[in-house]
Protein backbone atom coordinates (compact mmCIF):
# COMPACT_ATOMS: atom_id res chain seq x y z
CA UNK A 1 0.00 0.00 0.00
CA UNK A 2 1.44 3.46 -0.91
CA UNK A 3 2.44 5.77 1.97
CA UNK A 4 -0.30 8.24 2.91
CA UNK A 5 0.62 11.82 2.08
CA UNK A 6 -2.62 13.43 3.31
CA UNK A 7 -2.92 15.15 6.67
CA UNK A 8 -5.65 14.57 9.22
CA UNK A 9 -6.54 18.23 8.80
CA UNK A 10 -7.47 17.51 5.20
CA UNK A 11 -9.77 14.70 6.32
CA UNK A 12 -11.49 17.07 8.77
CA UNK A 13 -11.77 19.79 6.12
CA UNK A 14 -13.33 17.20 3.81
CA UNK A 15 -15.91 16.23 6.45
CA UNK A 16 -16.82 19.88 7.07
CA UNK A 17 -17.03 20.60 3.33
CA UNK A 18 -14.18 23.10 3.51
CA UNK A 19 -12.23 21.72 0.52
CA UNK A 20 -12.75 23.24 -2.90
CA UNK A 21 -14.08 21.17 -5.80
CA UNK A 22 -10.69 20.11 -7.20
CA UNK A 23 -9.41 19.20 -3.72
CA UNK A 24 -12.54 17.11 -3.10
CA UNK A 25 -11.97 15.14 -6.33
CA UNK A 26 -8.32 14.63 -5.40
CA UNK A 27 -9.14 13.60 -1.83
CA UNK A 28 -11.93 11.21 -2.85
CA UNK A 29 -9.56 9.59 -5.31
CA UNK A 30 -7.07 9.24 -2.45
CA UNK A 31 -9.76 7.72 -0.20
CA UNK A 32 -10.30 4.91 -2.68
CA UNK A 33 -6.72 3.80 -2.11
CA UNK A 34 -6.04 4.77 1.54
CA UNK A 35 -7.63 2.73 4.35
CA UNK A 36 -6.22 4.99 7.05
CA UNK A 37 -7.82 8.18 5.69
CA UNK A 38 -11.09 6.34 4.98
CA UNK A 39 -11.14 5.16 8.60
CA UNK A 40 -10.49 8.71 9.84
CA UNK A 41 -13.16 10.26 7.63
CA UNK A 42 -15.72 7.67 8.76
CA UNK A 43 -14.81 8.26 12.41
CA UNK A 44 -15.19 12.04 12.10
CA UNK A 45 -18.48 11.67 10.25
CA UNK A 46 -19.74 9.32 12.95
CA UNK A 47 -18.69 11.74 15.72
CA UNK A 48 -20.45 14.65 14.04
CA UNK A 49 -23.54 12.54 13.43
CA UNK A 50 -23.69 11.60 17.12
CA UNK A 51 -23.22 15.20 18.26
CA UNK A 52 -25.82 16.43 15.76
CA UNK A 53 -28.33 13.92 17.13
CA UNK A 54 -27.63 14.91 20.72
CA UNK A 55 -27.85 18.62 19.93
CA UNK A 56 -31.03 18.09 17.91
CA UNK A 57 -32.75 17.07 21.15
CA UNK A 58 -32.43 20.68 22.25
CA UNK A 59 -33.96 22.12 19.08
CA UNK A 60 -37.62 21.87 20.21
CA UNK A 61 -36.70 23.94 23.26
CA UNK A 62 -35.13 26.70 21.24
CA UNK A 63 -37.99 29.13 21.11
CA UNK A 64 -37.89 32.88 21.43
CA UNK A 65 -37.60 33.81 25.12
CA UNK A 66 -40.86 34.99 26.67
CA UNK A 67 -41.44 38.73 27.08
CA UNK A 68 -37.91 39.55 25.96
CA UNK A 69 -39.02 42.88 24.53
CA UNK A 70 -40.77 43.96 27.73
CA UNK A 71 -37.85 42.79 29.89
CA UNK A 72 -35.39 44.67 27.69
CA UNK A 73 -37.27 47.97 27.86
CA UNK A 74 -37.76 47.60 31.60
CA UNK A 75 -34.02 47.07 31.98
CA UNK A 76 -33.21 50.00 29.68
CA UNK A 77 -35.48 52.25 31.73
CA UNK A 78 -33.32 51.54 34.79
CA UNK A 79 -30.14 52.99 33.24
CA UNK A 80 -29.48 56.47 31.84
CA UNK A 81 -29.54 56.62 28.03
CA UNK A 82 -26.27 56.75 26.09
CA UNK A 83 -25.64 60.14 24.49
CA UNK A 84 -24.19 59.88 20.97
CA UNK A 85 -20.84 61.63 20.47
CA UNK A 86 -20.15 64.16 17.71
CA UNK A 87 -18.00 61.61 15.90
CA UNK A 88 -20.75 58.97 15.99
CA UNK A 89 -23.32 61.53 14.79
CA UNK A 90 -21.12 62.52 11.86
CA UNK A 91 -20.40 58.93 10.90
CA UNK A 92 -24.11 58.10 11.20
CA UNK A 93 -24.91 60.96 8.86
CA UNK A 94 -22.30 59.71 6.37
CA UNK A 95 -23.56 56.13 6.64
CA UNK A 96 -27.17 57.26 6.18
CA UNK A 97 -26.22 59.30 3.14
CA UNK A 98 -24.28 56.39 1.69
CA UNK A 99 -27.18 54.00 2.20
CA UNK A 100 -29.64 56.43 0.67
CA UNK A 101 -27.38 56.90 -2.35
CA UNK A 102 -27.05 53.14 -2.68
CA UNK A 103 -30.83 52.84 -2.70
CA UNK A 104 -31.49 55.83 -4.99
CA UNK A 105 -29.31 54.91 -7.95
CA UNK A 106 -30.75 57.52 -10.37
CA UNK A 107 -30.26 60.34 -7.86
CA UNK A 108 -26.69 59.15 -7.19
CA UNK A 109 -25.92 59.11 -10.91
CA UNK A 110 -27.34 62.63 -11.39
CA UNK A 111 -25.35 63.91 -8.39
CA UNK A 112 -22.17 62.38 -9.82
CA UNK A 113 -22.72 64.03 -13.21
CA UNK A 114 -23.51 67.35 -11.49
CA UNK A 115 -20.31 67.08 -9.43
CA UNK A 116 -18.20 66.38 -12.55
CA UNK A 117 -19.72 69.34 -14.43
CA UNK A 118 -19.22 71.64 -11.42
CA UNK A 119 -15.59 70.66 -11.09
CA UNK A 120 -15.05 71.13 -14.82
CA UNK A 121 -16.68 74.56 -14.66
CA UNK A 122 -15.01 75.95 -11.56
CA UNK A 123 -11.68 74.16 -11.50
CA UNK A 124 -11.07 72.92 -15.00
CA UNK A 125 -11.42 69.67 -16.85
CA UNK A 126 -10.65 67.02 -14.19
CA UNK A 127 -9.88 64.43 -16.86
CA UNK A 128 -7.25 66.55 -18.62
CA UNK A 129 -3.74 65.73 -17.52
CA UNK A 130 -2.12 68.44 -15.44
CA UNK A 131 0.17 70.64 -17.59
CA UNK A 132 3.84 69.90 -17.14
CA UNK A 133 6.09 72.82 -16.27
CA UNK A 134 9.28 73.29 -18.28
CA UNK A 135 11.83 74.62 -15.78
CA UNK A 136 14.23 75.70 -18.53
CA UNK A 137 11.47 78.00 -19.87
CA UNK A 138 11.05 79.56 -16.43
CA UNK A 139 14.79 80.20 -16.26
CA UNK A 140 14.86 81.86 -19.67
CA UNK A 141 11.80 84.01 -18.80
CA UNK A 142 13.52 85.28 -15.64
CA UNK A 143 16.63 86.06 -17.63
CA UNK A 144 14.57 87.93 -20.19
CA UNK A 145 12.86 90.04 -17.50
CA UNK A 146 16.25 90.92 -16.03
CA UNK A 147 17.52 91.80 -19.51
CA UNK A 148 14.55 94.14 -20.12
CA UNK A 149 15.18 95.78 -16.76
CA UNK A 150 18.82 96.47 -17.69
CA UNK A 151 17.69 97.87 -21.03
CA UNK A 152 15.20 100.20 -19.23
CA UNK A 153 17.87 101.46 -16.85
CA UNK A 154 20.28 102.00 -19.69
CA UNK A 155 17.63 103.94 -21.61
CA UNK A 156 16.87 106.11 -18.57
CA UNK A 157 20.57 106.79 -18.04
CA UNK A 158 21.00 107.77 -21.71
CA UNK A 159 17.98 110.12 -21.43
CA UNK A 160 19.52 111.79 -18.36
CA UNK A 161 22.89 112.25 -20.07
CA UNK A 162 21.26 113.38 -23.31
CA UNK A 163 19.22 116.01 -21.44
CA UNK A 164 22.30 117.18 -19.56
CA UNK A 165 24.68 117.51 -22.50
CA UNK A 166 22.51 118.18 -25.50
CA UNK A 167 19.66 120.15 -23.94
CA UNK A 168 21.70 121.86 -21.19
CA UNK A 169 19.12 120.98 -18.59
CA UNK A 170 19.24 122.36 -15.07
CA UNK A 171 21.86 120.76 -12.75
CA UNK A 172 19.29 120.03 -10.00
CA UNK A 173 16.98 118.41 -12.57
CA UNK A 174 19.88 116.17 -13.56
CA UNK A 175 20.49 115.31 -9.89
CA UNK A 176 16.86 114.30 -9.34
CA UNK A 177 16.81 112.29 -12.60
CA UNK A 178 20.04 110.52 -11.63
CA UNK A 179 18.63 109.75 -8.20
CA UNK A 180 15.58 108.14 -9.86
CA UNK A 181 17.87 106.06 -12.07
CA UNK A 182 19.94 105.07 -9.05
CA UNK A 183 16.81 103.85 -7.24
CA UNK A 184 15.67 102.03 -10.37
CA UNK A 185 19.08 100.37 -10.75
CA UNK A 186 19.34 99.00 -7.20
CA UNK A 187 21.41 95.81 -7.18
CA UNK A 188 23.02 96.41 -10.59
CA UNK A 189 26.22 98.10 -11.81
CA UNK A 190 24.05 100.91 -13.15
CA UNK A 191 23.57 102.11 -9.57
CA UNK A 192 27.34 102.69 -9.24
CA UNK A 193 27.45 104.47 -12.61
CA UNK A 194 24.57 106.71 -11.50
CA UNK A 195 26.44 107.49 -8.23
CA UNK A 196 29.56 108.48 -10.21
CA UNK A 197 27.57 110.85 -12.42
CA UNK A 198 25.86 112.31 -9.33
CA UNK A 199 29.26 113.04 -7.79
CA UNK A 200 30.36 114.81 -10.98
CA UNK A 201 27.15 116.88 -11.18
CA UNK A 202 27.46 117.86 -7.48
CA UNK A 203 31.04 119.00 -8.03
CA UNK A 204 29.91 121.06 -11.05
CA UNK A 205 27.20 122.72 -8.99
Amino acid sequence: MPKCNKSEAQAIDYVYGELDASQVVDFEHHLSTCDNCTRNVNAYKHVLHLVDEAEAELTPHIIAPRNLEAKLYRRLAEVPPVKPTLHSRLSDFATGLLLTLREQKVVSFCLFIFAVISIAFFVGNPFRPAPTIDMSQIDSADARIEQYRHQDIQRSMEDVLRNKHLRNSDGWDTVSQLNRVKDQAQGTNWANIAKKHLKNVHSEL
Partner: protein, 193 residues
Protein backbone atom coordinates in the same frame (compact mmCIF):
# COMPACT_ATOMS: atom_id res chain seq x y z
CA UNK B 1 -33.01 43.92 -1.58
CA UNK B 2 -30.96 41.39 0.35
CA UNK B 3 -31.10 40.79 4.08
CA UNK B 4 -27.81 42.53 4.83
CA UNK B 5 -29.14 45.81 3.46
CA UNK B 6 -32.38 45.24 5.31
CA UNK B 7 -30.55 44.94 8.61
CA UNK B 8 -28.40 47.95 7.83
CA UNK B 9 -31.45 49.99 6.91
CA UNK B 10 -33.13 48.99 10.16
CA UNK B 11 -30.02 50.03 12.07
CA UNK B 12 -30.05 53.39 10.29
CA UNK B 13 -33.75 53.81 11.06
CA UNK B 14 -33.08 52.96 14.71
CA UNK B 15 -30.31 55.54 14.81
CA UNK B 16 -32.71 58.14 13.51
CA UNK B 17 -35.06 57.33 16.38
CA UNK B 18 -37.25 54.46 15.23
CA UNK B 19 -37.83 52.08 18.13
CA UNK B 20 -39.74 49.71 15.88
CA UNK B 21 -36.61 49.11 13.82
CA UNK B 22 -34.87 47.65 16.88
CA UNK B 23 -37.93 45.55 17.73
CA UNK B 24 -37.79 44.12 14.21
CA UNK B 25 -34.07 43.34 14.55
CA UNK B 26 -34.73 41.67 17.89
CA UNK B 27 -37.58 39.63 16.43
CA UNK B 28 -35.25 38.42 13.68
CA UNK B 29 -32.43 37.28 15.90
CA UNK B 30 -33.80 36.53 19.40
CA UNK B 31 -34.43 32.85 18.65
CA UNK B 32 -31.09 32.32 16.96
CA UNK B 33 -29.13 34.04 19.71
CA UNK B 34 -31.09 32.20 22.39
CA UNK B 35 -30.43 28.87 20.64
CA UNK B 36 -26.73 29.58 20.41
CA UNK B 37 -26.55 30.56 24.07
CA UNK B 38 -28.65 27.59 25.19
CA UNK B 39 -26.27 25.22 23.42
CA UNK B 40 -23.39 27.11 24.93
CA UNK B 41 -24.46 27.35 28.59
CA UNK B 42 -26.91 24.40 28.70
CA UNK B 43 -29.18 26.19 31.09
CA UNK B 44 -32.53 27.58 30.04
CA UNK B 45 -32.78 30.44 32.52
CA UNK B 46 -29.17 31.53 32.11
CA UNK B 47 -29.51 31.41 28.33
CA UNK B 48 -32.60 33.61 28.59
CA UNK B 49 -30.77 36.01 30.88
CA UNK B 50 -27.78 36.16 28.53
CA UNK B 51 -30.03 36.71 25.50
CA UNK B 52 -31.51 39.70 27.28
CA UNK B 53 -27.98 40.90 28.03
CA UNK B 54 -26.99 40.56 24.35
CA UNK B 55 -29.86 42.77 23.20
CA UNK B 56 -29.33 45.17 26.08
CA UNK B 57 -25.69 45.65 25.07
CA UNK B 58 -26.63 45.84 21.39
CA UNK B 59 -29.27 48.50 22.09
CA UNK B 60 -26.82 50.61 24.09
CA UNK B 61 -23.97 50.27 21.59
CA UNK B 62 -25.94 50.42 18.36
CA UNK B 63 -25.82 54.22 18.24
CA UNK B 64 -22.05 54.12 17.76
CA UNK B 65 -21.88 50.84 15.83
CA UNK B 66 -20.33 50.99 12.35
CA UNK B 67 -21.41 48.31 9.87
CA UNK B 68 -18.00 46.80 9.14
CA UNK B 69 -19.48 43.31 9.33
CA UNK B 70 -23.02 41.94 9.24
CA UNK B 71 -25.32 42.93 12.11
CA UNK B 72 -25.88 39.22 12.92
CA UNK B 73 -22.11 38.67 13.15
CA UNK B 74 -21.92 41.52 15.63
CA UNK B 75 -24.71 39.99 17.74
CA UNK B 76 -22.94 36.61 17.72
CA UNK B 77 -19.75 38.40 18.82
CA UNK B 78 -21.55 39.87 21.84
CA UNK B 79 -23.18 36.51 22.58
CA UNK B 80 -19.86 34.61 22.27
CA UNK B 81 -18.09 37.02 24.60
CA UNK B 82 -20.90 36.72 27.13
CA UNK B 83 -20.83 32.92 26.90
CA UNK B 84 -17.06 32.85 27.40
CA UNK B 85 -17.39 35.22 30.39
CA UNK B 86 -20.19 33.05 31.74
CA UNK B 87 -18.02 29.93 31.69
CA UNK B 88 -15.11 31.83 33.20
CA UNK B 89 -17.14 33.36 36.01
CA UNK B 90 -19.15 30.27 36.85
CA UNK B 91 -16.18 27.92 36.47
CA UNK B 92 -18.54 25.05 36.90
CA UNK B 93 -19.96 22.22 34.92
CA UNK B 94 -23.11 23.19 33.06
CA UNK B 95 -26.42 22.30 34.63
CA UNK B 96 -28.33 20.33 32.09
CA UNK B 97 -31.56 22.26 32.00
CA UNK B 98 -32.50 20.84 35.40
CA UNK B 99 -35.42 23.16 35.75
CA UNK B 100 -36.84 21.90 32.45
CA UNK B 101 -36.10 18.21 32.91
CA UNK B 102 -39.76 17.41 33.56
CA UNK B 103 -40.84 19.44 30.58
CA UNK B 104 -38.42 17.57 28.32
CA UNK B 105 -39.56 14.21 29.63
CA UNK B 106 -43.22 15.13 29.19
CA UNK B 107 -42.50 16.34 25.66
CA UNK B 108 -40.66 13.13 24.74
CA UNK B 109 -43.59 11.03 25.95
CA UNK B 110 -46.14 13.30 24.33
CA UNK B 111 -44.43 13.34 20.93
CA UNK B 112 -44.10 9.57 20.62
CA UNK B 113 -46.43 7.60 22.84
CA UNK B 114 -45.97 4.35 20.94
CA UNK B 115 -42.21 4.14 21.47
CA UNK B 116 -40.51 2.23 24.25
CA UNK B 117 -39.98 4.43 27.38
CA UNK B 118 -36.87 2.44 28.29
CA UNK B 119 -35.35 3.16 24.91
CA UNK B 120 -36.27 6.79 25.28
CA UNK B 121 -34.43 7.00 28.57
CA UNK B 122 -31.41 5.30 27.00
CA UNK B 123 -31.41 7.81 24.17
CA UNK B 124 -31.75 10.65 26.64
CA UNK B 125 -28.78 9.34 28.58
CA UNK B 126 -26.79 8.96 25.38
CA UNK B 127 -27.60 12.55 24.43
CA UNK B 128 -26.47 13.73 27.85
CA UNK B 129 -23.13 11.89 27.58
CA UNK B 130 -22.47 13.35 24.13
CA UNK B 131 -23.36 16.89 25.22
CA UNK B 132 -21.06 16.46 28.22
CA UNK B 133 -18.28 15.55 25.78
CA UNK B 134 -19.03 18.73 23.82
CA UNK B 135 -18.80 20.70 27.06
CA UNK B 136 -15.32 19.27 27.63
CA UNK B 137 -14.11 21.43 24.74
CA UNK B 138 -12.39 24.69 25.63
CA UNK B 139 -14.65 27.76 25.45
CA UNK B 140 -13.09 28.87 22.15
CA UNK B 141 -13.21 25.40 20.59
CA UNK B 142 -16.84 25.11 21.62
CA UNK B 143 -17.72 28.55 20.28
CA UNK B 144 -16.09 27.75 16.93
CA UNK B 145 -17.75 24.32 16.77
CA UNK B 146 -21.21 25.66 17.65
CA UNK B 147 -21.07 28.64 15.31
CA UNK B 148 -19.87 26.51 12.39
CA UNK B 149 -22.03 23.48 12.99
CA UNK B 150 -25.32 24.86 14.33
CA UNK B 151 -25.47 28.54 13.44
CA UNK B 152 -24.46 27.94 9.83
CA UNK B 153 -21.64 30.51 9.86
CA UNK B 154 -18.80 30.27 7.35
CA UNK B 155 -15.21 30.03 8.64
CA UNK B 156 -14.70 33.67 7.62
CA UNK B 157 -17.77 34.80 9.57
CA UNK B 158 -16.70 32.81 12.62
CA UNK B 159 -13.29 34.48 12.38
CA UNK B 160 -14.98 37.91 12.33
CA UNK B 161 -17.31 36.98 15.16
CA UNK B 162 -14.58 35.72 17.48
CA UNK B 163 -11.91 38.16 16.34
CA UNK B 164 -9.55 35.42 15.15
CA UNK B 165 -7.68 34.67 11.96
CA UNK B 166 -9.36 32.16 9.67
CA UNK B 167 -6.44 29.78 10.18
CA UNK B 168 -6.93 29.93 13.95
CA UNK B 169 -10.63 29.14 13.55
CA UNK B 170 -9.73 26.08 11.47
CA UNK B 171 -7.20 24.96 14.07
CA UNK B 172 -9.86 25.24 16.83
CA UNK B 173 -12.34 23.34 14.67
CA UNK B 174 -9.82 20.57 13.96
CA UNK B 175 -8.87 20.28 17.62
CA UNK B 176 -12.52 20.25 18.69
CA UNK B 177 -13.33 17.46 16.23
CA UNK B 178 -10.33 15.38 17.24
CA UNK B 179 -11.08 15.87 20.92
CA UNK B 180 -14.69 14.79 20.44
CA UNK B 181 -13.49 11.74 18.55
CA UNK B 182 -11.06 10.88 21.35
CA UNK B 183 -13.77 11.35 24.00
CA UNK B 184 -16.53 9.47 22.22
CA UNK B 185 -14.61 6.68 20.49
CA UNK B 186 -14.36 4.41 23.60
CA UNK B 187 -18.10 4.78 24.12
CA UNK B 188 -19.13 3.69 20.65
CA UNK B 189 -16.49 0.98 20.56
CA UNK B 190 -18.03 -0.44 23.77
CA UNK B 191 -21.48 0.01 22.23
CA UNK B 192 -22.42 2.40 25.01
CA UNK B 193 -23.60 4.99 22.53
Amino acid sequence: MDKLIDDEMLVTQFKSGSQKAFDELMKRYERKIFGYLLRSVRNYEDAEELTLEVFFKAYRALASWQPKAKFSTWLYTIASNLAIDYHRSKARKPVYMLEDEDVIEARVVATDISSNPEKQLEEKERGRIIREAVDELSSKQKAVFMLTRYEGLQIKEVAETLGMAEGTVKIHLHRATKKLQTLLRPLWENNEI
